[in-house]
């Protein structure tokens, strides 16, 4: 039995989790997965705190660690390892988490392990699986990232391709902004798309050159802008626009994004010979993506594992889960662990 504490502070969310692995089963047990924005800290704080500031993470982190231990009845002595996101992300907020993890590991006399945030997203679909899905192609698709990885094992992950401009989740948010539908855009566009015609507008599917597994969604965003306002125009198109037309644009845009994601994922499966596909990140919630990717992989005889919704957005359960698997494979970090804004691969 191995128990890991996980800490995530790479961007907006402060999160702390405790995860346990058992030698008798593949499935991990998530004891708790506390995310500050989904957890009422206001009473304990007595005021509103800024969302993205490093000091906000600092204030929340201590409370979340205490809450995680108290609510689960797990004592620091029961822990086997302290895991923490050390890259990529905002350097200031990453350093808050890394410094806290270093301090806790030192004072509790426990091993420390730094985790790559994107690798944790790439493996999050496996947290509660009964059998390992590797080797797999992992699609990580969120507001900040759109990447394909070849995952041979928890600690053997290579990048196949990534967006060269906008992330898919960002495209959803910006299309919602163009149509003035509100924020966050992903769920809203998904809902409006449900009643629209996905073939109403022939939006471009940017596949890039040759066998590239990179993505580009910037041109699609601009195409939606012109579809709404007219070629070369950027305003005026929303006056008198009908609900049907908004639904058609949302449906056609969603289909264009999903067609590219599905095509590139299939291409990655062919080029790697992987037998399964795992999907992580916030856009994994998109209903068109879930439907089309499941259908496409089923036709190819490939298993698809979608990350459970509670592990799709930034969270510490995926950090502790990824970290516990690395720990079991012998990985350790030095107590001098640093943070890095970028990933060098």
């Amino acid at each position: 039995m191995t128990i890991a504490l996980g800490i995530e502070t790479s961007c907006d969310e402060t999160s702390v989790a405790i995860v346990e692995s058992s030698p008798n089963e593949e499935r991990l047990r998530v004891h708790c997965n506390l995310i500050a924005t989904q957890f009422d800290l206001h009473a304990k704080f007595g005021g509103v705190v800024p969302e993205i500031a490093s000091r906000a993470h600092l204030q929340k982190l201590d409370l979340l660690v205490r809450e995680a231990l108290e609510s689960t009845g797990i004592a620091p002595a029961d822990l086997d390892v302290v895991t923490v996101t050390c890259m990529p992300g905002l350097i200031g907020t990453l350093l808050v988490g890394v410094t806290a993890a270093r301090t806790l590991a030192w004072s509790w006399d426990k091993p420390l392990l730094g985790v790559n945030h994107i690798h944790a997203h790439a493996t999050s679909a496996a947290i509660e699986l009964d059998a390992p899905p590797w080797p797999a192609v992992a699609l990580v698709v969120s507001g900040g990232h759109t990447s394909l990885y070849h995952v041979r094992d928890w600690d053997d992950i290579s990048l196949l391709g990534a967006t060269i401009d906008d992330a898919a989740g960002e495209a959803f948010d910006k299309v919602a902004a163009i149509l003035e539908l509100g924020y966050p855009g992903g769920p809203i566009v998904d809902r409006r798309a449900a009643t629209g015609n996905p073939a109403a507008v022939a939006f471009p599917r940017s596949m890039l050159k040759g066998e590239s597994l990179d993505f580009s969604f910037s041109g699609l965003k601009t195409a939606v802008l012109y579809e709404v306002h007219g070629r070369g125009n950027t305003s005026g198109g929303l006056v008198g626009i009908t609900e049907e037309r908004i639904a058609d644009i949302c449906a056609s845009f969603s289909q264009a994004v999903v067609d590219v994601l599905v095509a590139k994922t299939r291409q990655a499966v062919r080029s790697t010979g992987a037998r399964s596909v795992v999907v992580g990140g916030g856009v994994a919630a998109n209903s068109v993506l879930r439907r089309d990717l499941t259908a496409a992989c089923s036709a190819d005889g490939i298993a698809v594992h979608l990350t459970p919704m509670r592990y799709c957005t930034d969270n510490a359960a995926m950090i502790a889960s990824h970290g516990i698997r690395l720990f079991e494979r012998g990985h350790r970090s030095d107590l001098a662990l640093g943070a890095s804004a970028n990933v060098k691969d």
């Binding site: 350097i91 401009d165 910006k174 802008l225 804004a341």
Partner: protein, 162 residues
């Protein structure tokens, strides 16, 4: 007192916008701060790709939108911090990201959607406004209040359309 130098030009394709960015990048040096303004789909991120190319960033693919991650860092001739104020609520939030340190002598800061946080931008910032002037045409206005920066940009070939 310095008079502002304003250059206005039009690019006709993404490639021309990238090439203009590359010329701007060649004229930059550590300590410069760029404020980018332009609506969704105007091409701000692609102009930054060009600027990064001009600053010697090898992996141009890594230059992508920082809207969600808030800050991207690239290594060229100098360190480049590529920020995005689209999701920020106030200038204070930009400061909280460490913006003042990013404007220091050793690095270049480029802020997309800078018109959302004008009070956070240094007085000598290079303001670049991109307007959609047609399907692929972009009208780009470059306003510079720093005479030495204006000279460096002119030497790098940044001037009105010929």
């Amino acid at each position: 007192m310095n008079r502002d130098t304003t250059i206005t030009l039009t690019t006709h394709s993404v490639e021309e916008t990238l090439a203009l960015g590359e010329r701007i990048g060649r004229g930059l040096t550590g300590g410069d701060c760029l404020a980018l303004v332009g609506q969704l789909g105007a091409g701000k991120t692609y102009l930054v790709k060009g600027i990064a190319r001009g600053l010697g960033v090898k992996n141009e693919r890594s230059v992508n939108s920082p809207t969600f991650v808030l800050v991207n860092e690239y290594n060229g001739r100098v360190a480049i911090h590529h920020l995005d104020a689209y999701r920020l609520g106030s200038a204070d939030e930009l400061i909280d990201l460490g913006f003042e340190e990013m404007c220091a002598d050793a690095s270049i800061a480029i802020v997309e959607w800078a018109d959302r946080v004008p009070e956070a931008m240094p007085a000598n910032s290079l303001w670049i406004r991109i307007e959609v002037a047609g399907e692929t045409d972009r009208r780009i206005e470059i306003r510079c209040s720093d005479a030495t920066l204006a000279k460096r940009l002119a030497d790098a070939g940044v001037g009105p359309s010929r």
